[in-house]
Each structure stands twice: as C-alpha cells, then as structure tokens.
Point group: C2
Chain length 276, copies 2
C-alpha cells in the first residue's frame, strides 16, 4: 500500500503513518492539501493528515477539501502523543549548548523548559522540527534541537531529555483519507458537515433533536464561518455510530430534509478513549 | 492606557492593538499566556490576544485561561485581515532574490505564490514574521521576507507585493481582555463556556433549547475535550445579546441549573459582520 503523509521524515505525521500501517510504502508530501489531493487523484492508496490543530499546518485545509470532494472519505483515526525532546549530537554536553533550533511553535510549546534550563540561550527557527536536527548537526556552535524522538533516531542524534513540552497530555488527532470509509465494527463514529440556506434561530437546535431523539451521542460539534459569505456557517459534527447502522441511517435521511447541504465524511472505528 | 499585546512589533497582534486604541501605551509580551496573566495581575489595563487560530500561538491558551480566572473578561473583539507581503530591502530587485525568510506557517500560507514566482529559491525559517525582516536585512545574499505591511514600515523596508497568501479572505479574530466587560450597546455578543458532570445523550440538545425557546441566536458553538479526564467536554458558545439583557439573563439563570459549571467570559459589541 502506498501511504502518503506530510513530510519530511521524523515528524509526528510520519509517526502517525507508521503507527497506522508499518508495512506501507511511505510517500512524503510538502503540505496537508497535497496529501489530500494525491488521494483524490489516486496517486496514493491512502493518506494520513492531522485533523486537529497541530504544528503541521492548517487543519481547515482538510475540512475544506472534504467538503469539496466526493471521491475521498475518512477511513480511520488515530491519536499521537505530542512529545518534544531535547536532542544533541552524540556525546555532546547539554550544559554547553549555545543555540537551540526548532519550529517556532515547538519553541513556544517548550518555553517554560527553555526559560528554566536555558535562560538567555539563542533560539533559532527551523522550517520543521525534523529539519531542526539537521540544522543542529550543521551548526558551528554547540547546539541542540527540539524535535520528536523519531527525528533523533533518523539522524543518529542523541535524546538528552524527553517530554519537555509544557502541556504533558498533548495529543494530535490524525485521520487517514482513502477512496472508501471503513466497514461497521460495532463501535464506530461518523463525521458530518452540514449547513443551512438561512440561519433562522433554532435551526441547529432542531437538527440536534434528530440525534437526541434517537439516543445518538454527539462526539464533537463545531461551527465555522464559511468565509465565502459573511455570517454563514458550516457545522462539523461527529456522532457515535456507523452510517450503515439503522438508526444512524434514519437520522441522516432526516438530516437531508432540514439542512440545505449534508456531507458525510465517512464512518470509521472510534478511538477507545478520546485522548486529545 | 497600558495595552499589552503579543510581540514583537510589526505582527498582526500589534496591528490589532493599534486598531483598538491608537493612543495607548503598547507593551509587548512574549506569549499569549503572558499577555493574559499580565491583565489578571493588573500590570496592564488591557491586553489584545488572538481568539481564533493564527500564526501567533495556541488560542487554547486564551480559553484555558478564561476558564480558570474570575478576574479577567472579554471586553471587545476585532478582526484583522491576514495580508502577507513580499518585502525586500529598499531599491533591491525582487527578481534577484536567492533566499526568502519567514515564519514557517507564513511560508506555508504563501506556498502557491512561492512555487509560481520563486521555484527553487531557498526558504529559511524565522522566529516570527516581523523577525524575518531583520533576518532579511542581515542576510549576506539577495533576500526577501514575508511579513505584514507594518513590519516593512517599522524596519524601513520595501513592500514588493501585497496579498501573496493563498487564501485572500483570511481574517484573524482578536479580543481584548480587561478587568470588566463592556456595557450593553443594543448589538452585543456574549461568550460562554459550560460543561456537564456526565455526558448523557441529549444534554447539549436540552441546553440549546434554553436559547432556542427564547429566540437567542447562537453565533458560535464548539466542543473541546478537556484533556484532564478523557471523554469529557467543555462547550464554548457565543450567543447574540448582552448578559444584562433580560432574556439573556433569564437564559443564563436557566443554564446554571442544567450545566455543572458555567463561565461567562463577557459581553461585548458584536462585529457588524463576521468576516473571519
């Protein structure tokens, strides 16, 4: 199986891709959108993309893409713990570090650690956390990098400390995109988007009644301005159950009557717990 | 008035601060959280922070902060168009550029422009868009930077092209934090967070009925896993109306009965349109 992901090697996206299918042929892409478009064009069999806010770029790209396509579905979800590591060249003394490289957001995530352990040390931006390990290796001063464990592994560097990010229970949720979603497992989730022609008060409330009256749990709900026409919203909803389950199918049929557009992004096995 | 914002000078946060109160004494801070904490500690009178996803850091920090404090409220909101510019040193020929500096996310926003106009040109990360202008000035090769217009202004650099980001209608919403929210204007919005002790199906539905039955429009709704206890959610809701309006006050009183916790983040004038 050819599995696309947001490159380069050594990022959390690659970690998610490996966790999903260790035996795949991994194909790195330069952006989230290019992964999604490669699935749509059938250049790759499946693609792994972050679906919640993360270092890796705008997740809105994924949702916009899913709203526009009818060839690509969500097939699976997985959660990756975001653990940043302090990385040095093998044998280096971490107390002598004069400069630290990373993606600016990773530097931000680790700012308490940096203020405590490395006050006054120069911070330098890299294009990605994985790229910061290369920048460190090429530095002419004693340097460190902040990146995932896997990035140290790939570049033969040494992990001096793990888990240096401020929020210790930080997960990023990824989904895999494919030509079809998953078959029912009995413990599934379905992702939807819908919107209305006009936003009369109570419309969302009535829509949610369709789920509530059938005992269908909401796992997520989010409104987003569409951007195209000011004041209009798209609602992104995850519900428990598979679109082929009888009660979910009945609810979706009902939903098409009260919304102006309904997109079913796919049904797929639910994570046992929602860690993120 | 001492007005805090996320520094450095020349970022969209500074632009929002200037738009909000041109006559203020501006105080830059290194992180979103440090702006919020400075308001809480009354080091500054008010602080401007992004409340939607942006280059400037994690907006979750603002919401987490508002949930924990009872000393700081949302007082105002404003929307800033995210317009990235190609910036060069005065008199430079933009066709001779060999290296382009910016924050990695801004490079990502402009990737279509870069692929079209500067294929193969080296991209180098900077800690902030504003910082990329300094990096450009100090570069020993012909260089450009990608940053807001204001950053060029501050550093005496030249704007070679405006609006080079992919999404031309991209806005970031900012709010100001202060010791008190705003008085009613007749066209207001109230931001709330609430959660439940247990997530029985239909609970959110019943809660939204409190607004729906009173004809109160929802402007935004979002569920977020709390992170502390897996599978539990906090709901972030913006409604039309001021907390001192009679029907909103009645709805909020009702809300305290059906939720386990309710936080009112503040009431403030609503943007005439929701551009973001």
């Amino acid at each position: 199986m050819r599995l696309g992901y947001l490159g380069p090697e050594g990022t959390f996206s690659e970690q998610a891709a490996i966790l999903y299918e260790p035996a795949a042929e991994f194909v790195p892409y330069p952006s989230i959108r290019s992964v999604a478009e490669a699935v749509d064009a059938r250049e790759i069999d499946e693609g792994v993309v972050p679906i919640e806010n993360s270092l890796h770029g705008s997740v809105i790209d994924v949702l916009d893409f899913l709203i526009r396509t009818d060839r690509t579905k969500i097939k699976f979800e997985l959660a990756i713990p975001i653990e940043q590591c302090l990385i040095v060249v093998p044998g280096a003394d971490r107390r002598e570090v004069e400069v630290i490289y990373s993606h600016p957001q990773a530097l931000g995530q680790c700012q308490e650690f940096l203020a405590r352990e490395y006050p006054g040390v120069e911070l330098v931006a890299s294009l990605s956390t994985a790229g910061s390990v290369t920048d460190m290796v090429e530095s002419d001063r004693p340097a460190a990098a902040i990146a995932p464990f896997r990035a140290a592994e790939i570049h033969g560097a040494e992990v001096a400390e793990r888990g240096i990010q401020g929020n210790r229970s930080n997960f990023t949720r990824f989904v895999t995109l494919a030509s079809e979603d998953s078959l029912p497992t009995g413990h599934d989730k379905t992702s939807l988007a819908f919107w209305y022609a006009s936003d009369a008060p109570g419309t969302l409330y009535e829509t949610l009644g369709i789920f509530s009256s059938r005992g269908i749990n909401l796992v997520k709900i989010e409104s987003r301005p569409t951007g195209e026409s000011l004041g209009e919203y798209v609602f992104l909803v995850d519900i428990e159950g598979h679109r082929l389950d009888a009660i979910v199918a009945a609810a979706l049929a009902e939903l098409t009557k009260v919304t102006s557009e309904l997109r079913v992004f796919g049904s797929y096995p639910m994570l046992r717990s929602e860690p993120a």
